[in-house]
Symmetry: C2
Subunit: 270 residues, 2 copies
């Protein structure tokens, strides 16, 4: 998906919501669990219910891999259920030596036609470049994450100045451009978004941590929004597990719409 | 697999060789390619031919994921082909927030019964702890990798002293112990192994980069070996693609044996 198409979707829907399909077989409603296609059916219903209010879906590969090869089949089928208007993100956090990352890029950009993938920066340029080589695909580099472990390395100060995560933004930004490179920037540290926007004023940021993890959408918008909005705010658990009974999809729609309404307000008032 | 069992295997076989099953459908011998079970058959033959000379097998998940859910099935089947005497490593380089890493740990320690998994340290403690919670399983943290991109972040100096990769060894070593935690340390930077051994004298190191990537086994042994040997040296392409015709397995055995003989010499002369 091209940047223009993404920005147009955001502006026409007045939403920068990404719905995270972190689907756990033990958390879906009981009435679905005995079905052979339980997870697919759950995902299909969530997508159907929320697609008017979001512009992207993010599939967290861990939840599918826990089910083995069957989980990968479900992931393949789920991607087919996502409308072509929506950005399809593989939240896979991959990264390996160049020869190996070639294969990961093929896995997530060709074998399964995702539009975007999250990647880990630790191993440097050659571990990320194979993803950036694809046209009209997005590589989303982990910058500053939303978890407590971010303090262990990401927030540590470098001898040359700044924190490790700032170096990652600075250096990785040069590997791609604003049309193929995004960064992960956690909502739980909204103040850091000011520093991040100084380094990458124009790149899109994928922002996890709103909802269950406690990040504030208002704070994220205040510190992270740019002239093209430039944000994809992901909400997973707070939407997909909003209700545990047969009305889960209706409730997911209600919560997704609440986020969309709040986003509309934040987009209008900037 | 317990540490004692691993050390015993190494000593009785006089080998610390790990064979990397980075099996690429486009690189296996032509006579196998038309078979439905081409990759399984290739892996089976490689395992059969090399198992006397090695003590571990490492499956690089990227090569299997490039084939989608079918590739995951092949990975599941390949793990079943590995004898229980050998350490089964998922080279997956996973890592995510704790809630998500739980699912990765399940994927690679339960759904597929690997003995060990490689993980990326960038996201810190809570991204790694779910793996360490498993008994008799090994978590292998990326420390210093064998690729050129290692210079981008891993080799950068920290304000508090030392390089980033040294911090990773220092801090991650505290999350586990020598019975459940190993580190990746690339053979292409053997001099750094001296620094690494000062930080983690007793942990096992998984060492990629010997063979095709040009690392020297002798240098690795000189700078990295400890009293329990403490090394798993991985060779992938130089063994599994040693010959491209129907004699690929015999040639793989010959090369694997050459490494074993060299390792025997290095173990005896220390």
């Amino acid at each position: 998906m091209e940047r223009t198409a993404l920005v147009n979707q955001i502006k026409s829907k007045q939403s920068f919501l990404c719905v995270g399909l972190d689907t756990d077989p033990n958390k879906i409603p009981v009435h679905l669990r005995n079905r052979e296609d339980a997870i697919i059916e759950f995902n299909r219903k969530i997508i159907e219910a929320t697609k008017a209010y979001c512009i992207a879906y993010k599939i967290n590969t861990a939840f599918y891999e826990a089910m083995g090869s069957k989980g990968w089949e479900i992931m393949e089928q789920t991607v087919k259920e996502i409308p072509s208007t929506h950005l399809k993100i593989a939240d896979a956090k991959r990264g390996d030596i160049g020869n190996t990352s070639d294969h990961y890029a093929r896995a997530f950009f060709e074998t399964i036609p995702f539009d975007a993938i999250t990647v880990a920066p630790y191993m440097g340029a050659d571990s990320i470049r194979p993803f950036l080589a694809y046209e009209n695909k997005w590589t989303i580099v982990l910058g500053l994450t939303s978890n407590s472990g971010a303090n262990d390395f990401e927030m540590q100060e470098m001898k040359s100045g700044g924190r490790l995560y700032e170096k990652v933004f600075e250096i990785a930004a040069k590997w791609g451009n604003i049309n193929n490179l995004m960064f992960v920037a956690g909502a739980t540290q909204p103040k850091e978004l000011n520093r991040i926007r100084k380094i990458v004023p124009d790149n899109f940021l994928l922002v996890p941590g709103v909802g269950f993890q406690g990040g504030s959408l208002e704070e994220v918008a205040k510190h992270g929004m740019n002239k093209d909005i430039g944000l994809l705010v992901n909400v997973s658990r707070a939407i997909i597990y909003a209700k545990e009974d047969e009305h889960f999809a209706e409730e997911a729609a209600i919560i997704a719409q609440q986020y969309q309404v709040e986003m509309n307000g934040l987009m209008s008032s900037r």
